[in-house]
């Protein structure tokens, strides 16, 4: 153990946290928000969008869930510039940068998982709730907005947050794009100073502490936001 030098961690804390972890947390929060919003829309389409739309959504969800995330990250990074070129009619591929590419990837990828969570949630609300809303004169959209979804979010909050913790860990895969997320930052210092064991141990510790604290937080929220029945 005498050969290990954990001072390297303290010397590089500002870089690790202010650059690396900041990127990771920003990506996690934005991807979770985008994923929940897109996933909710997908779940609603799948449930009440008619056979064509719901078939399309089912296909999308099944496709995304059958692909490894690293592959999707890679593929998107190289594909998005060409899609941008095609959409805007530009003569050259549009460079979108690592962050935007990663964010789009995670939103698109996580939306598939979030939509399954939301779909289960919507299915768990008794049909009588929709009938009652409709009987009061609310439109289908108003019933979703005011009656069904608020209950779904309360019921599914723990599952949504647990999925977000998984997302937080998965963001480390952006290292394949040489992006400086938290793991990327740790990895760069490790390689530069030849302190692989110290840096990766520290990175593991940080991921563990944050994930563990978050899941404890989820358990508290579960108790607090439960619908009184």
């Amino acid at each position: 153990m005498s050969n290990f030098d954990f001072d390297i961690v303290w010397q590089n804390l500002p870089y690790l946290f202010l650059v690396g972890l900041r990127f990771t947390l920003t990506l996690t929060v934005l991807a979770a928000l985008g994923g929940v919003i897109l996933g909710t829309l997908l779940a609603i389409l799948r449930q009440s969008g008619g056979p064509v739309l719901s078939g399309f959504v089912a296909g999308y969800v099944n496709l995304v869930r059958a692909l490894p995330l690293v592959l999707v990250i890679f593929w998107f990074y190289f594909l998005v510039p060409y899609v941008g070129q095609w959409v805007t009619g530009s003569p050259r591929p549009i460079q979108v940068g690592g962050f935007a590419s990663a964010l789009i990837t995670f939103i698109v990828f996580e939306a598939a998982y979030f939509s399954e969570i939301m779909r289960a949630g919507i299915a768990s609300i008794p049909r009588g709730q929709s009938s009652a809303g409709q009987a009061l004169g609310l439109t289908h959209a108003q019933v979703m907005r005011y009656v069904v979804l608020p209950q779904v979010f309360r019921i599914m909050l723990p599952v949504l947050l647990t999925q977000t913790i998984v997302l937080f860990q998965d963001t480390s895969l952006v290292y394949v794009l040489s992006i400086t997320d938290f793991l990327g930052a740790a990895s760069k210092i490790a390689e530069r100073d030849g302190r692989l064991v110290e840096m990766y141990t520290f990175a593991a510790l940080v991921y563990f502490v944050l994930s563990f604290a978050a899941s404890r937080g989820v358990q508290r929220l579960r108790a607090r936001y439960a619908v009184p029945r």
Binding site: A132, G133, G137, Y146
Partner: protein, 246 residues
Amino acid sequence: MSAVIQIENVDKWYNPAVQVLRNVSLTVSRGEVVVVCGPSGSGKSTLIKCVNALEPIQHGRIVVDGEDLGGKGVNLPRLRARVGMVFQHFELFPHMRVLDNLCLAQCKVLGRSRQEAESRALVLLDRVGLTAHAAKFPGQLSGGQQQRVAIARALAMDPVVMLFDEATSALDPEMVSEVLDVMVGLAQSGMTMMVVTHEMGFAGKVANRVVFMDQGEVVEDAPSKQFFEGAGSERARQFLSKILTY
């Protein structure tokens, strides 16, 4: 008397093999209280759900407050807002406080201000004796209290007619009377009501007419006095003897 609900020759199938309503015709006039009874599976709950188009019909016509439910360009949400409905399982919104349950549709459908909606809600909560519970969630109330809130929620929309779909059959016996009391009070105030129920005491007390259904058909439609003194049909007599003599 003008008709508030006109049901004309209605047929309904759940799928091509299962017919649940057969050539049903029925009229509820303004100020009238009509009780619909019959054995389970007779189609009475389905019929009342058809009246505000929660269930579609395949043949015939239903006209509510002068508007044909199947008419072109009919605005169903607007029409439903004029028809109050009370469900067997209350169907209060569990994530909202009692007061918010009463205000939601007033604000979103009728366009009332929050203040207007709240004052109307409080008047109705007082009427069903639950003012003290306005800030509670439905899950904190007893079944009887929840159903009274549900009645108040429907009344808050100032409906022209109230539909009751077995409003007391999910309640513990000791809570049935508190809900029936509210319904009787409503009937005596002149509200037009169509009530699916097994509570023959209620029917005898306030119903103008009793409609007896069996196997998707209206078997009997008679003034309540006449119905109880000697139902015309054998099936209605059998039904009555089963539920009245036990």
